[in-house]
Amino acid sequence: MSVIWHPQDAAEAIRLKETFGAEGRFISGGTWLSVQWENGAPRPGHLIDVSAIPAMRGIAVQSKALTLGAMTPLSVARRDPLIGKSFPLLREAARSIAAPSIRNLGTIGGNIACKTGDLLPALLVCDAELNWHDGHRLITESASDWLNGTRGETKPPDGLLLQVKLALKETPMFEGAAERVIEGYHKIGRREAFTPSVVTAAYRAVLSPEGVVQSIRLAAGGGLMIPQRLTESESLLIGRMMSPKLMERLYEVILREVQPRQDAFVSCEYRKQTTAAVMSAGLWQTYREAASA
């Protein structure tokens, strides 16, 4: 049986964590943790319930950024109109996670902190920033840097994630002549709904009116893989004109670059192939649809 603590602010939470070390564990919705326990992971001696910490709650718009409290439930991320309008990939990712009861309990923070959550590829392509409290001070780090910094380790973060910050795009001055944004989020599981992901892939490209890639974010995850930006594949595209040939090459590079993890059910080969296929075909199809519109 674990002892449960209810700190009222971030500093107290961090103090508790430092006191108990590896025996202390932050808990938000507890949905991810309960799966671990069910599968035989040991229960920690102390659970630090962070749900009452004010800085971790709510959604705020300040200085051209949307700040989501880490305690924001997945169901809110799925429903919130501002998230839906400004970050449709995030909404799509939240929509694809688990089932209603779990989305009501499970939080954005827990999804990020567990390092394999399906929100992560969407957050990566949205250039999300994470606000942490590391015990001494507040640290802001891009989601991408944070994931890279973990170097594939699955151990839980020591710091407390307070918020996720997403920059709001400026509205284009001239409708029509402006650059085009094409984006997509795909989660492929072993069934249609309520399924662990096998592959999650997200992409977001900004194209010039002529179809030249001006900025590009490609991110992949799925299963036990820690989601990654596909930087080599990104650099292949940047500055180039969208074309079938480019997409053929993109497919090849993604195939090589993505590093999925296999489990008893799905091979690496399938995961690589599917990531490459949904990303390159998705980009191309969205581009063609946008072009013909």
Partner: protein
């Protein structure tokens, strides 16, 4: 006509157990508790194969709150169980053969204490080599899992000489079909409440498909006479064959008897996965040859089934698969060789479809490939080789004459789905892509495929297959109907109720349906093999004349009226419908109290029966109602309530029947006599980026005689087909080195509503051959058989790829995208 709510009219009713199930008010047997009860738990082997060197239970016994720790030494009777062969140890003695094998059982005050007690039992094992597959089990030098080797059962069937026949074939198709270990995944996991009674009897509240078989098996294990054990077995939260065999009952019973306290056991999902039965994984190799005209000359089949560590019904399942690997087709020569092999994998056993699912997946795959080979349309090819209506069964055995095969074939041929395929085929350019959003997503390909199913019902030749039931007027005036069949969620009570309403004229509130209690019901065999509805229908047919006559005779005597003028109806005995109907009057509810009182007082003159009395000869009224002149005020009236009748009859009115399920007069164990036929067409979409398949539309034609209960019929075919959808696309209880990789529903994936989306049209073919009085055929299993091969056919239509393994591996369908 398609079966649905609309076309069912008034026959579409709320099922009697519906409100309780929908509101959650209904308590399942595993919801029951008793004051002072203990919690029972079972210690299972962590190893797929090991020798037991010692079991130390002292520490567990010494733990406060523990009331009993049982090992094999504590089994008073037979330390073995199994419906057919009792080779599965209740508690293992010196060896464990799979990860569900039970080594000890504990009863404690709480779950937590029981859990701790399990952890305190020390078992010393010596690991033995794991026999991971039938191939490994059959290899030279394989470790032997049982005294007489690794083969549970072999069976074969030969007609003609296939080798000679293959020599004259124009096309030969050879393929090996691999089918997965599927889990029943009932909502309610195994469990029960076991109560030692003051009089020394034992009451078992635990779901099973055959209460009397559990009683027999528990009597062997406990050493108690059967009559000292009472089994309460319904309602069941799903079974699908999985709860026919014993599961936790031996442990609950032994612990309750040992402690003399009620004991409750309820498996967690994980324990259910680990210990429970699964569908047999089978590898089926088929070689089939045709002549230049597409006639099948030779069909050779080799079936290898992984039966796991113990027998249960492995042999019977293999017999069924052998028969169904032949199906409804005509062959020049055939040869089937089948073997069911022991391994250290999980237990395989009875499962809806009973070996037919695997066999028909293979057989229908062959039919499609052969049609390809000779350039025929696959549906035409099937007709080309289809059995005639008076043909014998697959083993050449006499069967009930049936035109079901042709009827099902015709229905599918006429279906809009199949017509759509025919049109696609004839169109110059075949458009196989569907649009997604604004533009066509080039990676989505759709196709239409079909499969044919012939499914035997009943247990078959040589296996006792009793049926029967009882109906009586209970002292409280209820019409009490007693059957030894179980409500597993399939809608048995709803079907029984509707039959009683339609065949006898009773109203739901007149009835008390009694099932699932060995102290009360007659032994009418197991609720299995698509037999219960047929048996109940037949029983009621046999019970009706006698029971009706007795009720009417008793009523006639009381009322002083001729029997012929009376009929059974809502609430009691009515004046004959013949008169009322002929006069165009609608029946009205009489004042029941009045009828009651009058009857009780014996004051017949006080009851308005003038309309009947005036007709003079009652016989005439009955036979020639239309010609009889009756007075104007004739109306249908309730003359005597069942309660009044029950109170007045000098002796109880009871009718009982027992008989056997119709069997073929043929000396081959398991061969069937009654068959159901079905045809399934499906439209599926393949996403070639991901290799994933979605079913968009289904059509099922089922030739099973009259629809007893429309809702139940739809429920069975739809539910069965969703099970088959899982079998085809997602479900596999994966084992590695004798351990389940899928330990719960996180990784064992059954279809969700999103997977089962899409239209499902169901067309019952109700017509039976003239003179056929076997009644409605069972449909409990057939819906679960055909969808998987039909999906494979649709996948081929969409992609040109022929797959031979279930569930479908998306990697085989994934393609490199084309960028155009």
């Amino acid at each position: 006509m398609l079966l649905n709510r609309q076309s069912s009219g008034e026959r579409w009713r709320a099922r009697p157990d519906g409100p309780g199930k929908v509101t959650g008010a209904l308590a399942y047997l595993t919801d029951r508790t008793a004051p002072d009860m203990l919690i029972g738990r079972v210690l299972r082997s962590p190893h797929p194969h090991a020798a037991i060197l010692a079991i130390h239970a002292e520490k567990a016994r010494a733990l406060p709150g523990v009331h009993a720790v049982l090992t094999y030494r504590d089994v008073p009777g037979l330390n073995g169980y199994g419906i057919a062969v009792q080779d599965q140890p209740v508690l293992c003695v010196d060896r464990v053969r799979y990860v569900g094998d039970a080594v000890a059982a504990v009863a404690a005050d709480t779950d937590a204490i029981a859990d701790q007690a399990l952890s305190l039992i020390e078992v010393e094992y010596r690991l033995l080599p794991i026999v991971e597959s039938p191939a490994a089990a059959l290899a030279d030098g394989a470790p032997l899992l049982h005294g007489d080797g690794n083969i549970l059962h072999r069976t074969d069937y030969k007609r003609g000489d296939v080798d000679v026949a293959f020599a004259s074939c124009t096309h030969i198709v050879e393929e090996v079909y691999d089918s997965p270990r599927q889990m029943h995944t009932y909502m309610e996991t195994e469990g029960g409440l076991f109560v030692p009674e003051k009089d020394g009897r034992l009451t078992v509240h635990s779901p099973t498909q055959h209460g009397f078989m559990d009683r027999l098996q528990l009597s062997r294990i406990t050493g108690m006479p059967e009559e000292r054990i009472r089994i309460l077995s319904s309602p069941i939260g799903g079974s699908f064959g999985g709860k026919d065999e014993l599961n936790v009952q031996p442990y609950g019973a032994l612990l309750a008897l040992k402690t003399n306290r009620p004991v409750k056991i309820h498996n967690s999902r994980k324990e259910s996965v680990r210990a429970g039965l699964k569908r047999h994984p089978m590898v089926i190799a088929m070689k089939t040859g045709i002549d230049a005209n597409g006639a099948i000359l030779a069909h050779q089949v080799k079936i290898t089934a992984d039966t796991g560590p113990y027998a249960t019904l492995g042999a019977e399942v293999l017999n069924f698969a052998t028969e169904h690997a032949l199906g409804p087709y005509r062959y020049g020569s055939v040869e089937v060789d089948s073997v069911s092999v022991y391994t250290n994998n999980g237990m395989s056993g009875e499962f809806r479809g009973f070996g037919g699912n695997q066999a028909i997946f293979a057989l229908e795959g062959q039919m499609d490939r052969l049609a390809d080979a000779c350039g025929m349309d696959p549906w035409d090819f099937r007709l080309r080789n289809m059995r005639e209506s008076d043909a014998p069964g697959p083993f050449g055995q006499p069967i009930a004459p049936t035109n079901g095969a042709k009827q099902a074939w015709d229905a599918l041929e006429a279906s809009s789905l199949w017509q759509e395929r025919r049109q696609n085929e004839s169109a110059a350019t075949v458009l196989r892509s569907e649009s997604s959003g604004g533009m066509k997503a080039p990676w989505l390909k759709t196709g239409i495929g079909a499969a044919f199913i012939m499914h035997g019902s009943g247990l078959g030749v040589g296996i006792p297959d009793p049926g029967g039931g009882r109906i009586k007027l209970a002292p409280d005036g209820k019409i009490e109907v007693q059957f030894g069949y179980e409500e597993c969620g399939q809608g048995l009570l709803a079907s029984l109720e509707l039959m009683l309403i339609e065949q006898f004229g009773f109203a739901p509130e007149d009835l008390r349906l009694v099932i699932g209690d060995t102290d009360v019901v007659p032994n009418s065999g197991s609720t299995t093999a698509s037999r219960a509805t047929t048996m109940m229908w037949k029983s009621l047919q046999r019970l009706r004349p006698g029971f009706q006559k007795e009720l009417l005779a008793a009523a006639a005597a009381l009322l002083g009226l001729p029997e012929e003028l009376l009929r059974l109806g809502r609430g009691g005995i009515w004046n004959s419908r013949a008169i009322g109907e002929n006069r165009g009057n609608r029946g009205r509810e009489a004042d029941v109290e009045y009828a009651d009182l009058a009857a009780a007082a014996g004051d017949m003159a006080g009851i308005d029966i003038s309309g009947i009395a005036d007709t003079g000869s009652g016989n005439a009224a009955c036979k020639h109602g239309a010609d009889v002149d009756v007075t104007e005020d004739t109306e249908e009236r309730l003359l005597l309530t069942y309660r009044a009748l029950a109170g007045k009859t000098p002796r109880p009115i009871v009718a009982e029947t027992s008989f056997a399920f119709p069997a073929s007069p043929f000396p081959r164990t398991g061969a069937h006599y009654l068959y159901t036929f079905a045809a399934v067409a499906v439209k599926a979409e393949v996403n070639t980026l991901t290799g994933r398949v979605r079913v968009l539309e289904q059509y099922h034609a089922v030739a099973a005689g009259p629809v007893v209960n429309p809702q139940g019929y739809l429920g069975q075919i739809e539910g069965g087909s969703i099970m088959a959808l899982g079998y085809a696309l997602t479900e596999e209880a994966l084992m590695q080195q004798g351990q389940y990789a899928t330990s719960n529903l996180d990784t064992y994936l059954i279809p969700t509503i999103a997977d089962a989306a899409g239209e499902m049209a169901i067309e019952p073919i109700e017509e039976l051959p003239e003179g056929d009085n076997y009644g409605p055929r069972g449909i409990g299993e057939i819906g679960s058989v055909g969808l998987a091969p039909a999906i494979l056919a649709a996948v081929h239509d969409a992609t040109g790829k022929r797959l031979n393994r279930l569930p479908i591996d998306p990697l085989q369908l994934a393609e490199r995208p084309a960028f155009t």
